[in-house]
């Protein structure tokens, strides 16, 4: 126990020294429901935000040197942020979260929907909870949208993040759940194109092996240590598109919903094309 406390104090002090004065101003400006112990109903606490902020701002400013376009397109109040997913590890989520917190006016905390196996992982489970991430169930999403939060969704899910290098910038099949949720209470959808993440971890997906160990995917990287743990320092570019609004019955047949999802997908795909055309190099 002594070691744990000592470690926590040291890390806390280090984190404090890394945070600029801007951080506290931004944290103050966040609109969050919290109880007398400082927790929101999902276990998010401002006190834990600094750890995420240090990591996020390092990735955003120093490692991936992210360029963000169109952040002002994100409307106030409830919104679904829908982005392409890639890169084996969800750095794209962290960078989008960092953009919204560090550059957003006013700053916002993005709540992303994490895979349902995440709560079974020690440490990861509560660290994500404390920094505002939520288990990806429709009920959770609905509740947070009603509270006016910004929810990040990757409709490609595991299909997207674990796709092999050869399929970079080719959008995988989109799930339909996010559209039904958006229709339920007319939530605007902001499409986001993430450029860069698709090259951060070249890998092939060894599906039979993944099935053997019961994991959703098992990407093998040609670079030691052969598991894509460390991403390459590619340059990230984020494009936030104009908000899209949809009308209709959330309980419609799949083929009706598919048409609406296609609008979002096409919008992301065309932003990807523009982004790829504009960039001069993968790393700078």
């Amino acid at each position: 126990m002594g070691l744990g406390v000592w470690l926590k104090d040291r890390v806390g002090a280090l984190v404090e020294s890394q945070l600029g004065p801007d951080f506290h101003k931004r944290t103050q400006a966040l609109a969050i429901r919290q109880n007398e112990y400082g927790y929101d109903p999902f276990g998010f606490t401002k006190a834990s935000l600094k750890y995420a902020a240090v990591l996020g701002s390092f990735l955003y400013r120093n490692y991936f040197r992210c360029e963000t376009h169109g952040l002002a397109n994100v409307p106030a109040g409830r919104v679904l942020l829908v982005a392409n997913h890639s890169g084996q590890l969800p750095f794209d989520a962290m960078v989008i979260g960092a953009a919204m917190f560090l550059e957003g006016e006013p700053p916002r905390v993005v709540r992303s929907m994490v895979e349902k196996f995440i709560p079974t992982l020690p440490f990861v489970s509560y660290l994500l909870t404390r920094t505002g991430q939520i288990t990806g169930t429709p009920e959770n999403c609905r509740r947070l949208l009603e509270d006016g939060e910004a929810i990040l969704v990757f409709p490609e899910g595991v299909r997207g993040i674990s796709k092999p290098f050869t399929q970079r910038y080719q959008l995988q099949d989109f799930g339909l759940g996010f559209m039904r949720l958006a229709l339920e209470n007319r939530t605007p959808i902001v499409p986001i194109a993430v450029i860069g993440a698709e090259e951060q971890a070249p890998a092939v997906n060894v599906k039979p092996l993944a099935r053997l160990i019961g994991a959703p995917a098992l990407p093998i990287s040609p670079i030691p240590p052969f598991l894509p743990i460390l991403p390459l320092p590619v340059k990230y570019r984020l494009y936030f598109g104009e908000p899209l609004s949809f009308d209709g019955d959330p309980d419609d047949d799949d083929d009706v919903i598919v048409d609406k999802v296609r609008v979002v997908k096409n919008s992301i795909q065309s932003m990807i094309h523009v982004g790829l055309k504009e960039r001069k190099h993968v790393f700078w």
Binding site: N35, F42, T137, E139
Partner: protein, 306 residues
Amino acid sequence: MKVVITGIAGRLGRLLARRLHRDGRFEVIGIDRRPFHGRPKDIEHVQVDLRNKKARDVFRAGDVSALVHMGVMHNPRQSEVEHHAWNIGGTTRMLEYCQRYAVPKVIVLSSANVYGPRPDNPQFLTEDAPLLGSQDFPEIRDLIEVDHLASNFLWKAREAETVILRPVHILGGVANAPSNYLRLPVVPTLLGFDPMVQIIHELDVVEAIACGLKPGARGIFNVTGPGELPLSAILDELGRRVLRFPHPVAKPLLGTLWRFGATSFPVPELDFIRFVCMVDGERARAELGFRPRFTLKETIQAVNRV
């Protein structure tokens, strides 16, 4: 108004009896095979097993206006057969009498644990969520069956107002798993897990039951307290020393302790300090008008009440 309380000799039963007795509008009769210590003089106590025919005699006169059924046994050391016979047998009898002698109000105290702690649970389960609590904890199957029996009665016996209450972890002088756990001098937790939990003060549960007695109230209700907190914040508030074990170590360790009778916590209880099992209490708020009176701090400190 004549109210029959089963399990009146337990901690919650006594608190409820006192609450209704003080109210003045209620005539309280208890059924419990245990003796009722500190019984106020004008509370009648029938000290029999629920399955005994003397229990039927309580209803026979036909003037019972409500049954509060909380006489459910949950002793992990008792065999499943014993549990089943007592809990299912007792509940069936009670519901049978209520129907035969036209009791207009039936309140069954269930628990939010019937949903079960699971990694893929939504943060807040509503009353229509499946009751999966026994999937990894087969020993509590009978508690879920009691809830099912009551739900069936709710739909079948339309002339009675059936209220099923599913409160979150009850804290106080009660000898239930969460209160016992928080009263440990050194509290073991799982390394790397710190789920959000909901707690409610024992007196707030009593108040919720009183709300359920109001005419017109009918249905299944999650009952939540003043809010939700990570387990670690509750242990901090109590100033407990914490010992963290990795889950792969904790599981066989607790299993061994359990086999040697050194602990009162069976292994599946570990999931309650690992995953979320939280509920949405909005329906009880809206339809029963129930509001918890105790704050988070008061509720946590209630484990020190005796």
